[in-house]
């Protein structure tokens, strides 16, 4: 099939030509690359990619099609997609459609046939930058200009864009509006939604929690009023610093109940305890990043997606034990509070996509909650090295639109 021309223009003037797929539209955003070789559907639907145009370093995309199950939210959250070789005819027993069709349905533009390796090297060397992806125009000057005029990621409070507007519960098959009967009596985790990935909710529920998700602007006091046994500060897109409401909530809940921060949630905790965050040159996005637990020397192969990080040197001295570091660049990847039941990791223990090496974090959180409430969570035995990768992903069907 002969496709129309499409173009990706970067703010520094470099343009990449290719063929259009997905919707006939135009978008701007921060252009980032992800090195995971599987999981494009999960990545595109991950709310943390809000505001970003995603390029995949793996060149063959769409091979196994798309299905109704592998969503991390109720839609696609990235702004657009850049590929080297889009597959027209997918093959997989779970496939219900093509990647092209999905992007078209969800109104996202895609460009294929791009020298994505050249693009990746450009972003690696010059840093992530703004871009404009168009399946309507190939006027380079005009698109570069649009890229330059688009907002920078720094200072953007994107959580407001992706958060749910009404609270919901997470049930066996996903989003439900009433408390699932099956979970009654289980310890409650409240998750303020800054762009939460559904697999975090699946993992919490699999761990034995009752899971309630509340809008991102819910205050700390409001959260505590729900009598949670623990709070999970979710992942989410963009810069943590402008999210003053979330930082305030993190400050409040972390003093009172066991609190677990993932990715953006980790950065919020850092900020709540007085540290500073900063932007990485080109971020960590992929499913092969080694993280070393400094306490044990154990290495986890992790799923990562962050453009900002907590500057370890700015954390108040002695308050946190800095437990996890990136094997690649030595940046802080995880920490545990020395006196409060608070822990957080910069990467994605729920993976999806990516290895299951880090599920121990959910158990560690459950242990904090158990200590707090004086009864085990989920009745599961203590985690062991041998079983750390053994947990299957909870299968879940996508429900209809959440509230």
């Amino acid at each position: 099939m002969k496709r129309r021309e499409a173009m990706l223009a970067l703010e520094d003037g470099r343009v990449f030509r290719g063929e259009a797929f997905g919707a006939d539209t135009e978008t701007t955003g921060e252009v980032v690359f992800n090195t995971a070789m599987t999981g494009y559907q999960e990545v595109l639907s991950d709310p943390s990619y809000c505001g970003q145009i995603l390029t995949f370093t793996y060149p063959l995309l769409g091979n196994y099609g798309v299905n109704d199950e592998d969503y991390e939210s109720d839609g696609l959250r990235a702004q657009g997609m850049v590929c080297r070789d889009l597959c027209e005819v997918p093959s997989n027993w779970r496939s219900t459609g093509t990647l092209d069709g999905l992007l078209r349905d969800k109104g996202l533009p895609g460009i294929t046939g791009v020298d994505t390796r050249a693009l990746t090297r450009h972003l690696r060397d010059r840093g992530t930058m703004r871009g404009c992806l168009s399946t309507l125009s190939v006027n380079a000057d005009e698109l570069v200009e649009k890229a330059r005029r688009s907002p920078r990621m720094e200072g953007l409070a994107l959580a407001d864009v992706v958060t749910c507007t009404e609270p919901y519960w997470w049930g066996e098959h996903g989003v439900v509006t009433t408390e699932p009967a099956a979970d009654r009596g289980k310890p409650l985790v409240v998750v303020p939604d800054y762009g939460v990935k559904w697999n975090i909710l699946r993992c919490l529920r699999a761990e034995g929690f009752r899971v309630r998700v509340v809008p991102g602007r819910t205050t700390g006091e409001q959260i505590l009023a729900l009598s949670p046994d623990g709070v999970l500060l979710s992942n989410g897109p963009g810069d943590p610093e402008p999210l003053d409401f979330a930082i305030a909530a993190a400050r409040v809940v972390s003093q009172k109940v066991p609190t677990f921060g993932i990715c953006l949630g980790h950065q919020l905790l850092g900020l709540a305890f007085g540290a500073r965050t900063r932007k990485l040159k080109f971020g960590h996005r992929g499913a092969n990043h080694p993280v070393i637990d400094r306490r044990t020397g154990v290495v986890e192969v992790t799923s990562q997606n962050h453009g900002f990080m907590v500057d370890a040197d700015t954390l108040p001295a002695g308050e946190f034990e800095l437990t996890h570091f990136s094997g690649n660049d030595g940046t802080l990847e995880g920490m545990v509070h020395r006196s409060l039941p608070v822990l957080s990791c910069q990467y994605h223990p729920e993976s999806s996509p990516g290895p299951h090496d880090s599920r121990v974090w959910f158990r560690a959180f459950a242990d904090l909650v158990a200590a707090r409430i004086g009864q085990p969570v989920g009745g599961a035995s203590a985690p062991s090295r041998a079983s750390r990768a053994a947990e299957p992903v909870t299968a879940s069907r996508t429900p209809s639109k959440k509230g």
């Binding site: 070789m37 793996y58 196994y64 994505t116 390796r117 690696r124 080694p290 154990v298 690649n328 990516g354």
Partner: protein, 1062 residues
């Protein structure tokens, strides 16, 4: 954890001779292992019987034993060297089996040797189907339903219970030997009989057939700290039912969602932990149901493997090197990633390209065997290709095979369609070609998927190629279309065909239009980090990553996929030359398409190009790199065949000039040269028609050696003794024309054959060694057992051979290596052929005489003079025997007879102070140990009967019993030699073949009568091969074998390392 300090000296086991299922990938892994252990400060003792390997070059270990890989010899070495540890995981199944035997017999304990890399328990759990099954149950994994049988009757009973089709596997064998797929009771009986015989413990596994399931492999590594990483996922194009070595495979997995892939990854982590691989790597194979996603474990290998070599090349993650480092206690996070140098090895490589591996078979050499592919590996080599899309990688792989002219096959014609559709149902070496033909002819991916079980994804991707090719038919040149085709992976040759242009013209127009490839790096990380180690492939995109030139560049062309007649020996030469030139300040570039080799280790060269070895692909590299010259003389026929195109494109060849190469290659120029030099050569003719061939044969007088004009490894070559035989041969080798004539040589019956390897710089000529063949002339030199120094030739003959070699080298203007073959009969020396290039024997000679010939050649090629280098010519005390290893047991129905067509896959070397013991070691190394006692079957042609009298007496003196069929038996009896007479096959039972089957014969000496009365002989040889009884088919071979038997009975064999005085 830092490296272990309780270990100082490590014994590393190699894999022995190249055989089907165990090839030079283990030289790659062993070489890496030895290098990294020495770099860590350990003393390395190496045992490997294969002289062609790079790892056995004396510089790669502290002590190198080119001795048989058997427990007795290993024990001698352990007693002598007293190593602290034994590392068996780099040497394939051979090394693993040897380690198990040494551990079980208590040798390791007795000498305090620790097994590292994999524990005995781990090896046994992975290898023993029953223990493995239990372990997998504990890990929560399902295996195919199965059961064991030790008798044919049990096998049938079990088979009926499980239901057909069934897979038969024999325990503890390599490359799936003794395994097969059966559809009915009759075939089950046959397979059970063979499998039980092939298994060291006499048992077979019969299991549920997963035909049509998708097949995957994961390469897994675990360190002593329980950190586990998956290096690579590999998806098979061919569904379950074809041995992975015979499957087209693709990396990374293409059709798995992340969810399914992670389930497989989790399973792999559980499995490597359950099997308790404490510090090393393993390969795990899975089957996945194409419609339900159900996953089953097929097997795991607790060692590096062919797949791990492929995975290393596919990802840039050096599995063998890291395995060796883990084995001595380092952990993954302590080892830097070589390619980025900044990030640690405890990560999982991310690819930004697609890798396709395609096997290469040698059925043209084994015409009488079953060509169908199954669970028993039959391929002899493979190519790997890298592209940014699947079609690009597939087409690069297709032309890298060097067996299809680099063009797509024609669409299937209507009248053939049904036959081809029928053919693709079963896996065969032709299936990829047939699929291309059917898709080009309009068959749909869905219909072909339904009959082949191949995932429709692959077939859809193939239709991208066939539809574009259809569009190109009748099209005229258009830059946009050409760019599109080049991005799809089309060769210039394919475009030339479609546009009706010469290939050179396509190249010219393409370059003029700016349609040239860029070189992209393989960097393990999808460009996330800057790559330091340069490993490149070409593709048609925007950005080229080749760095600026700083030093003079030399491009060495490798030898492409392994095949019979061209393999490891040539890679050895390329690697030696690369290392030598690198150390002398050149930027060495290597181009090769073979993932099994050492030359494609990115450590060997300054820049590695993983590319097909075609004129187009090589010229693309030359255009980018602008080397001072290209080396074509080290990689065998593959690069040599490119010499013309490179020369015509104005690319300088390093070493012997194109004219020199042509002088040796061109029959008439060569004949004239030999005549001019006043040397003898067998009378010869060139015939362009069938009639001419017959007439010329009569003129020459029988017997005549005939061959097609362009041959590799003597393909199609035959010695014919009479007219009818020649007629048969002509009928089979139908291709005769003025362009493809038949070459006829007067065959020198009863002559001795001699091989010489030399290095020359145009003036000075240094003879490496004169090798005498044990078999008389007529057996292909690659299949001959040969000896250094010559054992029957007189000193004056040897001196004359050296003198002739010198004259030939000067006349051809040789700069670099040269090999000359001679026949010696009644004091006359005949020149058979001279090849101004590396030969198969260069590594053997280098090891036997202690002179690195390929390194000297490399220095000469860049302009140094031998007179300045002045290497010492040595006169070694040790006698070295090179013995071929033949693959007949893989190819039932094939006659195990040696002839002018090369059939061996590999070789071993036996070294000792006396000839008999060196020969006995060669036999031990080759796996057909000479028997210390028992019965010898003698069956010789009338001409030879007189000559065997002495030999027969000797055998009786040594205590062997003699068995013979009527003619030979009566002849021996008449000469007073005790012998048991047995029936020929048609005379009654028990006949001679029954005796072999019953294990009553330990050695067969059978010289063939010629083509006419062969039934018995073929039956004898076939049974002997099946029962692993050594067979000697020449009189000369028989005589030295008796010398070997005599030597063996004199007492235990001693071992000597290469580093000890020669």
């Amino acid at each position: 954890m830092p490296k272990r300090t309780d270990i100082r000296k490590i014994l590393v086991l190699g894999a022995g001779p190249i055989v089907i299922g165990q090839a030079c990938e283990f030289d790659y892994s062993g070489t890496q292992g030895c290098r990294s252990l020495r770099a860590l400060g350990y003393e390395v003792v190496l045992l490997n019987s294969n002289p062609a390997t790079i790892m056995t070059d004396p510089e790669f270990a502290d002590r190198t034993y080119v001795e048989p890989l058997i427990p007795e010899i290993a024990e001698r070495i352990i007693a002598k060297e007293r190593p602290d540890a034994l590392l068996p995981t780099l040497g394939g199944q051979t090394a693993l089996n040897l380690a198990v035997s040494l551990a079980k017999s208590g040798v390791l304990e007795r000498y305090g040797v620790k097994l590292i890399g994999a524990s005995l328990e781990a090896i046994e759990t992975a290898e023993d189907r029953d223990l493995f099954k239990k372990a997998m149950e504990r890990a929560g994994m399902r295996l195919p339903k199965s059961g064991y049988a030790t008798t044919v009757a049990d096998a049938v009973a079990l088979g009926e219970q499980l239901g057909y089709p069934l897979v038969i596997r024999s325990s503890f064998t390599l490359g799936g030997q003794g395994s097969g797929l059966v559809h009915d009771r009759r075939h089950l009986r046959e397979a059970a009989r063979v499998g039980i015989a092939a298994s060291p413990n006499g048992s077979i596994l019969i299991e549920e057939c997963l035909l049509g399931w998708k097949e995957y492999e994961l390469e897994v590594m675990r360190d002593g700290h329980d950190n586990v990483v998956i290096v690579c996922s590999i998806e098979n194009f061919d569904p379950m039912g074809v041995h992975t070595g015979d499957s087209i495979t693709v990396a990374p997995a293409q059709t798995l969602t992340d969810r399914c892939y992670q389930i497989m990854r989790d399973a792999s982590l559980r499995i490597i932990r359950e099997i308790r691989i404490e510090a090393g790597g393993c390969n795990i194979q899975f089957a996945v149901h194409p419609r339900t996603g159900e996953m089953i474990v097929i097997e795991m290998n607790p060692r590096v493997s062919r797949s791990s070599a492929l995975a290393s090349k596919a990802t840039g993650f050096p599995i063998a090197k890291i395995s060796a480092m883990l084995a001595v206690g380092l952990t993954l996070d302590e080892i830097p990633n070589d390619i980025t140098r900044k990030t640690p090895a405890c990560f999982e490589p991310s690819l930004d390209y697609c890798v396709v591996k395609i096997p290469r078979w040698a059925f043209e050499k084994f015409r009488f065997t079953d060509r169908r592919l199954g669970t028993r590996m039959k391929s002899v080599g493979e190519v790997m290709a890298i592209g940014r899309t699947f079609p690009e990688a597939l087409l690069k792989g297709w032309r890298a095979l060097e067996s299809n002219g680099g063009v797509l096959p024609d669409a299937v014609a209507d009248h053939e369609r049904e036959a081809v559709q029928h053919a693709v149902r079963e896996p065969s070496p032709d299936r990829l070609r047939d699929l291309f033909r059917l898709l080009a002819g309009g068959d749909t991916p869905e219909s072909l998927s339904a009959i082949t079980g191949i995932d429709p994804w692959y077939l859809h991707q193939m239709t991208r190629i066939t539809s574009l090719d259809r569009e190109l038919r009748g099209a005229t040149w258009d830059d946009a279309t050409v760019r599109h085709a080049k991005r799809m992976g089309f060769s210039d040759r394919q475009l030339a065909l479609r546009f009706g242009l010469a290939e050179t013209e396509v190249r010219r127009r393409r370059i003029a239009a700016g349609i040239v490839p860029v070189m992209k790096a393989v960097d393990t990380c999808g460009a996330e980090f800057q790559a330091e180690t340069p490993y490149f492939y070409s593709t048609y995109e925007e950005e080229c990553e080749v760095p600026e030139a700083t030093r003079p560049r030399v491009l060495i062309l490798g030898s492409g996929p392994n095949r019979i007649g061209q393999g490891l020996e040539f890679d050895y030469c390329c690697v030696q030359a690369a290392l030598e030139l690198k150390s002398r300040g050149y930027d060495v570039l290597i181009a090769n398409s073979n993932p099994e080799t050492v030359s494609t280790d990115y450590d060997v060269s300054n820049r590695l190009y993983f590319e097909p070895l075609t004129a187009e692909d090589v010229l693309n590299i030359v255009d980018r790199e602008k080397p001072i010259g290209v080396v074509v003389q080290l990689g065998g026929q593959t690069p040599l065949k490119l010499a013309k195109a490179l020369h015509e494109a104005g690319v300088p060849l390093l070493g012997t000039s194109f004219d020199g190469l042509d002088l040796a290659e061109n029959r008439s120029r060569w004949r004239d040269l030999v005549t001019e030099l006043g040397l003898k050569q067998p009378d010869s003719r060139i015939a362009a028609t069938r009639e001419e061939t017959l007439a010329m044969a009569e003129q020459l007088g029988w017997p005549v050696l005939v061959r097609p004009s362009y041959v590799l490894g003597g393909r199609g070559m035959r010695i014919v003794y009479e007219r009818s035989e020649l007629e048969d041969w002509l009928a089979r080798e139908a291709l005769i024309s003025a362009d493809e004539p038949v070459l006829l040589d007067k065959f020198l019956e009863g002559a001795l054959e001699v091989d010489v390897d030399a290095v020359a710089d145009g003036e000075t000529v240094m003879v490496g060694a004169v090798m005498e063949h044990i078999e008389e002339a007529g057996v292909h030199s690659g299949d001959s057992t040969c000896v250094i120094p010559p054992f029957t030739l007189g000193d004056s003959t040897v001196a004359e051979i050296r003198a002739i070699t010198t004259r030939l080298a000067r006349a051809l203007g040789v700069r670099g290596l040269m090999n000359v073959q001679y026949a010696v009969r009644m004091g006359d020396i005949y020149v058979l052929e001279a090849n101004p290039r590396a030969s198969r024997t260069v590594p053997f000679v280098s090891k036997a005489v202690g002179i690195p010939l390929a390194r000297l050649a490399a220095r000469v090629m860049v302009g140094e003079r031998l007179a300045d280098i002045r290497p010492a010519e040595t006169d070694p005390r040790m006698i070295s025997v090179k013995k071929p290893v033949l693959p007949f047991s893989r190819f039932p129905g094939e006659d195990a007879l040696l002839g002018p067509e090369m059939k061996s896959t590999g070789e071993v070397m036996g070294r000792d102070l006396d000839f008999g013991r060196a020969l006995a070691k060669a036999h031990l190394g080759a796996g057909d140990a000479l028997p210390l006692e028992g019965n010898v079957l003698l069956s010789v042609r009338d001409d030879d009967k007189r000559s065997i009298t002495f030999m027969a007496k000797k055998l009786v003196e040594l205590g062997y019993g003699l068995v013979a069929t009527r003619g030979t038996a009566r002849f021996l009896s008449r000469n007073g030699i005790p012998v048991r007479e047995v029936y020929k096959v048609h005379e009654g039972r028990p006949h001679v073949a029954d005796l072999i089957d019953n294990g009553e014969i330990q050695l067969v000496i059978n010289t063939p009568l010629g083509r006419a009365s062969e039934y018995d002989e073929q039956a004898i040889r076939e049974r002997a091969v099946a029962m692993s009884v050594p067979v000697v088919t020449t009189l000369a071979g028989a005589q030295v074998t008796v010398a070997g038997l005599e030597a063996l009975r004199r007492g235990p064999l001693e071992v000597t390392s290469l580093q000890e005085a020669l």
